[in-house]
Symmetry: D2
Subunit: 385 residues, 4 copies
């Protein structure tokens, strides 16, 4: 089957996430970046496609609207199959809506949208149009995350009791947004980022990872959010107590002012008869603890690992797979799903193992709930979507 | 100067903590265990002294009251100097009170007492009688904890912003108290343990460590406590949001149902310009993070470490010091303080670097506050002592 | 500039290294796999190109000879630029020779050839034809290996005194070659692998890494090689004493029977005033030790790291880069070199930072010397190329 | 039974190892330091006993000869039971000989003596007099070393194939002996240290550990020793190839110029069906690897650990035990052996699990063999005792 054609919105000069999408999407030879609108400045946008990505000038569009229209008009066997959205949060909704309206599948950066209402609207629209809407909660693509999920869901630990999920970074410990850092600028700007800063940018990854692995839904929460850096307009740190449906308890904390921390996403889950620990900083190891025998370390590509992890592994054990490879697992499953649909088949459960706009709705609800809780003085609120 | 004589209350057959006190107290050759009352059963008590500790039969007492009386009557240069209390919580107060009344210094297990009122009474009494009252928040004795404290307090990180302290164990993941395990029995019994289970037993260590290292006081908290094991009468798990005086925020969590975890006390502190991480499981390393250079690992006995840590170190770098050695640092400083007093001198700040009943008052207030918060549905309460 | 066109020899059904080359070469968008000869069976070869790599049927050749001829006859702006050799060792020389004779640049798997004479011949031929001949000692592509090299070569440690390099695996602890495992079959077959098994397959990586980082040349060595698995025809384990020009000493050991080890390549270097440690299993950390201050951990993408490492890094710190990314650094520099030549420019030192047939000559000399040493009873031999 | 009385030779001002012996010997309440001769200067010696160790002035002797005579003349139930030798190597033999001649058991620092002949003589003498002669290869006292030994010897891994043992330090990377450091002075002085420097001081620990854990004997070796620091009179670094009886192969390397390394003793053993790794720097973990399941980490005090390890463990899992505790395991077993003899019983195999002068003979043979091998240009020599 021919490669799927991907159109990228965003990812112009200075935006590292655009290159990440390109590398991850193309890694398995299933997808080709063939068109895009890379900047809100049309001239820059056209230049970037050619200069940064080696795309034909005629498919390096000035705007995403132009792209949707032009691509929709191309022949069936040589046009964009899906749109990747790699832009600041406030633009996700209009771009995604335009893509869906034009009949294109979507893979979008998280958090899904600017607010919850927008995410719900997109979910409904994708559903109505029977289009696939992926969301890059990319950390779920790691083989050892899939192994963790398999272990918990297979009942190896009995009922889950305690969850600890943390995501700590240090890059915003100073007022980086005042130094010309574009990544910091929009993330700390309420008009572009949404109701939350840190909690939207990375807290939602924590929320998603915890729910993905445990299969449990957060039922209520109590959030204490703080803006530590003077002059910053959105919170840069937060601590959240969690209660899950069924009785598990948890803590989620996220920070962008934890000086010296790089990208410390870490999950711990404890059930009645076992527990696990996974850290994104050393993603190829999964520590599994038991009450009555030594703890074990399951490894990407290693022995004793289940099918879900193995299916997300490209190399033999000991050949470290990293961030890009995990990101690429999302794209591979997304591509499998699209290919199944192209072939008129029903995507399998394996094909569909990637985050979607449904996760995005939960993420946006998480943002709105933690912000509301914090504004009410860190009180308990139900978590509803 | 002659060795200080120590009288041990508790530590009979099957109580590992008695041996810990003996080994730790005697390690530096400053203290000798010379008498004790080791069991609430007088016959067993008398036998234990001789059989377990090689103490003279005449100083192996049947009860602690007997011990206080007899030792007080011995000659000045050959009698007990201080009492060690290594018994369940509900007996701390009467024993300590008897010791203070009889004019003996005290080193007590934590939490200080059964409730806050008792702790306050003991603090006042020790003060009134000018007696020294140590408390075995033993983790503060590790050299790298002292280095952490030195770093934070020297201002190396600027103001502290975020604190994460956790203490997780798995040994009570099942109903251990129903199996004849005496340690589990009293710790889960409200009549002997006090208002809290897990939070009293290990949560207070977390609270103490965080305050010791940062020098900050918890100002208010919100605690969600849970009893996961069916039939258990006290909580075995808890998550607490913290607010410190001065604006720092934090999370404290403790669990005794985290299957497979051994004794996972861990502290992370982040300030404006640096951060640190210390874990009791690998206690000779202190990770120190900076915004602008690689993170460093300070080591017990290693280069670049300050005087407080060096003063608590007995061996060259690379000769691992452990739990007993840290415990023994408390005893050494306690002995230094007692010796200073014996010599009619004022103990130095270094001498006095061990936890006392003042910490015990805070610990008991912590217990009462987290329990009250949890009972009120995990709401915010001021933390007052 | 248009993407460079790569022709792959090898990499058919069941050969994971072919996919590795494809992913690594294409990662940075500089190279496209456009043709190949994937199997020694012409029919299988033609099928594989289309089925495994999505290559045009007309450029999925039956043999590499066919490929060289056909591609040489294509128009200048649409033909293969270089040949990738991903086949068993005994075929490297004929394929490489054919490629060079036909005027194509080469990127070859290691060890370079079946024996030293072949490697020297290829080196001379590439030189004579002014063609670029890369060799996939891929571990030199890791950012932290480049940082290590920078540190040592900048003189930060003074003269190097001690080197320890090890590469241990466990996958051949049993007679895997008797189970139908093709990777094991040819690697343990003297007719296909060459004079050495383990030492050729992974020992040469160790030799290359040590020389790359330190800039020192092995001057003499003493090797004790062993075949532990009964029935195996080549050694599967070896220990080698090293003496470097200038007086440094070292140890190199490699094993494929170290049960449970995955891909344990690790280098330690100690100079007069500092030392370092790097492990392929956690490749994004470089431990740097000093005599008078805490050890530090330099990180891929992290602060305090030099230009060579930064130039080989694609993502911000904390986004783990792995085996494929490091492999892709070789391809990127190789592509930069080819592009410079296409553009009529002299490649820079940065462009040329990838292993070449000159390293291959050293690697083959290493193999012949360790085998000769071992056969002579593990005696010292000069290491000459 | 009354405490065993220990007499210490050495351990005066500035000698940390004396305090180590005191703490380790007394830790379990089985031994009391009651007399000694602490310095070669009689006046200093007498003062040290009182000032450093709180010993009675009358039992703080001026010389070890004086001590032997005086203690031999004391009543049976109140005299020294054994002599601890904590002095430079060249004095071990005369002191030990005097002790044995006077009828005292001995616990001596390693290496056993100045040369092999002396060690053999002591072994014969101890045997003849039926006296116990322990040797402080203290690293064998760690619980996880005992677990490693149990695993290998129980056949869990099949036949051992490969052994890697290393011991690297950095404290002699500069000419420390020229700075007044007494520890460095005698260790680098051929007249006091013996034929070897680094290999005697720490290499012998490696040799002992490898043989203790595997139960295999080194049969021949090839050693390349180097003196890196200008002006130093003994080697400070060495690499040794090992061949064991039965066919296992190994590498031993030791260094005191590995800048920044603390006390890096590490052992790896690989058999046919499993392998293990233990590091003194994190001594409470033992990594155990298997071909067909995830690797496991056995822990001091943790589940799934055998009796030998459990018997050497004092605290529950997660309460780190360190260097002193391991050292004290030797003393405890030594005391058990002496007590058995006092009681007229035959010591059990558990009692006798401590290194003796027989290990010392092997250690001295190791030193002489590596030195002879190195002097002959790093050639193979048989290892005979």
């Amino acid at each position: 089957m021919a490669k799927l054609q991907m159109g990228l919105v965003g990812g112009g000069e200075g935006a590292f996430i655009g290159a990440v999408h390109r590398m991850a999407a193309e890694l398995d030879g299933r997808v080709a970046l063939t068109c895009g609108a890379f900047s809100s400045n049309p001239a820059k946008s056209r230049r970037a496609g050619v200069a940064l990505y080696g795309i034909d000038a005629q498919r390096s569009y000035g705007t995403y609207g132009e792209m949707m229209a032009a691509e929709a008009g191309r022949p069936d066997d040589d046009r964009m199959d899906f749109v990747v959205i790699a832009t600041p949060n406030h633009t996700h909704h209009p771009i995604a809506r335009a893509a869906l309206d034009a009949g294109f599948h979507v893979m979008s950066d998280k958090p899904a949208t600017f607010d919850l209402a927008e995410a719900k609207e997109l979910a409904a629209l994708a559903d109505e149009k029977d289009l696939v809407f992926g969301l890059t909660h990319n950390y779920t693509g790691y083989p050892m995350v899939k192994e963790a999920r398999h272990l918990v869901r297979s009942g190896a630990f009995g009922d889950v009791r305690r969850v600890v999920v943390e995501y700590i970074q240090g890059w915003l410990a100073e007022r980086e947004e005042a130094t010309g850092n574009k990544q910091a600028e929009w993330r700390t700007d309420p008009a572009r980022s949404g109701a939350a800063g840190c909690m939207g940018d990375i807290g939602t990854h924590g929320e998603n990872l915890a729910e993905y692995v445990t299969g449990l839904k957060i039922e209520s929460l109590c959030a204490d959010l703080t803006t530590f850096v003077p002059g910053r307009r959105l919170e840069d740190d937060g601590n959240v107590l969690l209660r899950f449906a069924g009785g598990a308890k948890g803590v989620l904390f996220a920070s962008q002012i934890a000086v010296g921390e790089e990208n410390g996403l870490k999950l711990r889950v404890y059930g009645e008869t076992g527990g696990l620990e996974w850290s994104q900083m050393e993603p190829n190891s999964l520590i599994v603890r038991w009450p009555d025998r030594p703890y074990e370390v399951r490894r990407t590509g290693g022995p004793g690992v289940g099918e879900a992890a193995t299916g997300a592994t490209r190399l033999p054990a000991g050949h470290p797979e990293g961030f890009l490879e995990a990101f690429a697992v999302l794209y591979r499953n997304f591509a499998d799903t699209l290919d199944a649909k192209r072939a008129g088949k029903k995507p399998t459960e394996e094909n569909l193992d990637f985050p979607t706009i449904a996760d995005g709705v939960r993420g946006m609800a998480f943002i709105e709930t933690v912000v509301a809780s914090a504004e009410a003085g860190a009180t308990w609120l139900d978590f509803r979507t």
